[in-house]
Symmetry: C2
Subunit: 211 residues, 2 copies
DNA sequence: CCATTATGTAAGCGATGCTTACTTTTCAGA
DNA sequence: TCTGAAAAGTAAGCATCGCTTACATAATGG
């Protein structure tokens, strides 16, 4: 191709941005956008690079492969989910455990409903390397532990922990897997309503059980 | 290239199997295997063709694109799941509704636990075109309707229908999404046990609720 | 018996993940 | 302040994928 500019005249930004500055963050942000637009399966390393204004080989300096990129994105998403859940319980730590559980469930479902594609990234563990991310594991286990403590305080049996998670997780997945229309639930708003009603029923079952 | 054999001598099976016979079924079967081996995401049209002993362009005579292939596979998987569930209720149609519900839930979870990757195909609706398959919709709605009737007979409120499905679906997805190890559940056998215990708790909640 | 139609093959396009070789920038130590 | 190694890009290319098009072969029915 024989390219040799006399100085650094001409061209656009000849050298200013050879180094991106913080490509890593930019790639995560771009991928987060891609996930939001077309879902996790549609994410492409090349497209993320394109959006970050960088060549197709550049990302591999920061993420050895696609899975590691997706894992970093999942970490960020988990962080947001964790924050949403914690923010919901924090103001009512003194109230009855079942009320706190309801708040957690609602916040979890709300977040999954508002960010279905991001939720898909954190739950679809075929796309990420969950074990490799200590922060994701930690934040996940914190929610799990909190729910466990509240269920204990509410007098629920041990199996209730898995049951509660399965229930909330099932609702969230039905939403992102698009199963809800089949149940006469079409809008996101309706979805949240239906999920809330189901959640109440479940918690009510736990309460009545004690009586 | 210039290829013109004098007769039809030489070569392996020169003409015998130019036409496969029933490529369609063979491709579905091959894909079912691929799904079982490496999960739905790993399925490749070319590999399915390879296993059917056919060129890479051949599948497109039968399935216009990958999604249609996957949908056909999902149809087959749904058929098997439907059969498993129906076989479980059939012998106990005269027993109490909650017992039948338990049987359905158990059969559903059993099947999902035994065929996690196949279950992934039928539930991951980003991979298939659910709306285009009348048989899949029908069989799915049959299970849904059956559960609905049983819940009504058991005196459960309307929300219980969605709640019950979400619960069972959540357990099944936690299994295939590999969330169970996090809950101290490591083997498939343990998984089934834990899911059964959670299922009982859920149904118990419904029962007690009536009292 | 032969023409039509169904079913395969061969080759190739654009895109992907990832690698390798090279270039440019940054920055720490003399 | 200079310099040389390390960091962070680029460019080109490999193997593979989904899918299309042009062609070859087999099955079929008038």
């Amino acid at each position: 191709m024989a390219r040799r500019p006399a100085r650094k005249t001409a061209k656009k930004k000849p050298s200013r941005t050879y180094h991106h500055g913080n490509l890593r963050e930019a790639l995560i942000e771009a991928t987060l956008q891609l996930v939001q637009e077309d879902g996790p399966e549609a994410v492409t390393v090349r497209e993320a690079a394109r959006r970050a204004g960088v060549s197709s080989g550049a990302p591999f300096r920061h993420f050895p492969n696609r899975t590691v990129l997706m894992t970093a994105v999942a970490e960020e998403a988990t962080h947001r989910l964790h924050a949403a859940v914690m923010a919901a319980v924090e103001p009512i730590v003194d109230r009855p455990p079942l009320m706190q559980l309801r708040a957690i469930g609602t916040a979890y479902l709300q977040w999954a409903s508002d960010n279905p594609t991001h939720f898909a990234v954190v739950s679809n563990r075929g796309l990420i390397d969950y074990e490799s991310s200590s922060s994701m594991k930690r934040e996940n286990e914190e929610i799990q532990a909190l729910m466990g403590r509240l269920l204990d305080a509410a007098g629920a049996p041990a199996e209730a922990k898995l049951a509660a998670r399965a229930f909330v997780y099932g609702l969230a997945r039905m939403r992102i897997d698009n199963h809800l229309p089949q149940w006469g639930v079409d809008s996101p708003a309706e979805a949240l309503g239906a999920m809330g009603a189901a959640l109440d029923l479940f918690l009510e079952g736990l309460i009545k059980r004690r009586a």
